[in-house]
Amino acid sequence: MSSRLRRIIDMGPGGVVSPGSAHDYRFHDNRAYFAETATPWVRMWADWPSLQPDPAYVPDDPDSPGYWRLQALDEQIQAACDDGVKVILMPYRFPLWANGTEALGAQRNTDAEISFDYWDRILPGAWRRYLDNGRDPARYNPSRRALEYRIPPEGVGVDSAWGRFFAFLYARYHRGRSSRGWVDGFELVNEPNWQLWPQRGPSPTDDPFALGEPTVQYTMAQFMQTAQVVSADYGHNTLLLAPSTADSDEITRVVTRFDVFSAALLDALDASGYTAPDNQAWAHHNYLDIEQRVSETRTQAIRRLLDGRWTGYAEDGVASVFITEGGVRISQMRAYYPAEDPLEAQARSVREGWDRHYSDEAAGAGVAMLAQYQTYTDPHFDSGLLDPWPSTGKRPIYGVWASLPSHA
């Protein structure tokens, strides 16, 4: 029930990609910010390319070049446990050795890399502009999906490299552990309807950007099936969260709208015979609902899709949706509310968003968690509680976030 609405701060990938950086839970007063704002949950990212850069070594081999980052993750999880903060851990990205793009990785920002499967990575306008600039990335480097988001050709089944990595994480951090820190939840993937590619089958026309049939939902279903098998080995003792959809309204070859994706995923799960265990919760991201200050939320649109079809984690008989990533971006405040001070508009959006969701009805029905993206803000994705590190300037949103109820 949403009168027990939980709060989580998402620290982003920096704590593992660059240990010691501003978003490392251990340092830069981040632990103090969690305590001061009484935030009971933290989301950490287990960046797979960072943790296992060389397939010749398992992640916990002391000779692995990623071992020092695994130690940093261990310590951050342990620190959170010591602080009484519950952890959601999310395996993130694919190493290039695991998804068949290793050769391209040695050619980043060359035409060979940019042009690879461009129809599944680049929007048509950006591709045309790239062509107009002579396919010269020094003149125009088109926005595109990174190589690390390519779905591995072997899939993500139990016997795949991803399956082994997830099993490693589960064994190391599951809730039944009594030492070295544990997590209360594993989130399986980040925004599969936005980041992963390909999203769809081949174009049915001569236009390479024409929409084919969505296919990414089958990969998502396989993530969930694999996680269920791994989780069963430990008595399903740790919460699983998925599919963690981006809340985009777009439909292109590189983005599948959240509701189209969710409906297709439910169909794929049904077709595979999957039945969600009690510890498998539905997760979604909701920047737009909070930024746009709407009452008719995309989250509730998802709940309507789940009604009668989803048998996973529920509270008081109501299927729960966990918002594991969200926040309010300053850039959007300038666009939506030009008459308001952007920082005050951010704080107001969060305050009002919380009020709408802290209810068992309407926008709050079945919502189990709301999220805030980062403590120190990222200048390139500006939604934080504080100004960019090393400033310790607290924004108006900081006081709002600290004032909200704290439910574990």
Partner: protein
């Protein structure tokens, strides 16, 4: 708990008393532009080709343009990171990679944060622009 106000010998104090934190410039100063350019040149030594497609002069010009469009809090961040980075020697990719790896004690952690932030700033000009709703590409050192 490690605080944010502990500077070191190599990296100067980075708390609220820093001149850069107090007074952000409206334009990228010549000294900071030079530091940025040296940073990009150092990153050209990365094992992959990620940083090599733009020459350091063009990248610095693009970054200076981006800088002028940022709010004061972001410009302060840039100023401090580049000022701190300017004190490091020498300037090869391997040095940056080594500095990005923390060791016990506060000063190295401070250094890691500066280098990590600097690499993200380099990505501002060298990586493809992110879409409006997209997280920036992840830039890290090997």
């Amino acid at each position: 708990m490690v605080g944010a106000g502990a500077g070191g010998v190599l990296f100067g104090r980075l708390d609220g008393s820093s001149p850069a934190l107090a007074r952000p410039a409206s334009r990228l100063t010549r000294r900071r532009a030079r530091t940025y350019r040296r940073l990009v040149e150092a990153l050209h030594g990365a094992p992959d080709t990620r940083w090599r497609h733009l020459d350091s002069r063009s990248a610095t010009q693009a970054f200076a343009h981006w800088y002028e469009q940022q709010p004061p809090s972001t410009r302060r961040h840039v100023d401090v990171v580049l000022d701190e980075l300017a004190g490091t020697r020498p300037w090869r990719y391997e040095d940056l990679a080594r500095m990005s790896r923390p060791a016990p004690g506060e000063r190295p952690v401070r250094r890691c944060a500066v280098v990590a932030a600097a690499v993200q700033l380099a990505a501002t000009a060298c990586d493809p622009a992110a879409q409006t709703d997209e997280h920036p590409p992840i830039a890290s050192l090997a």
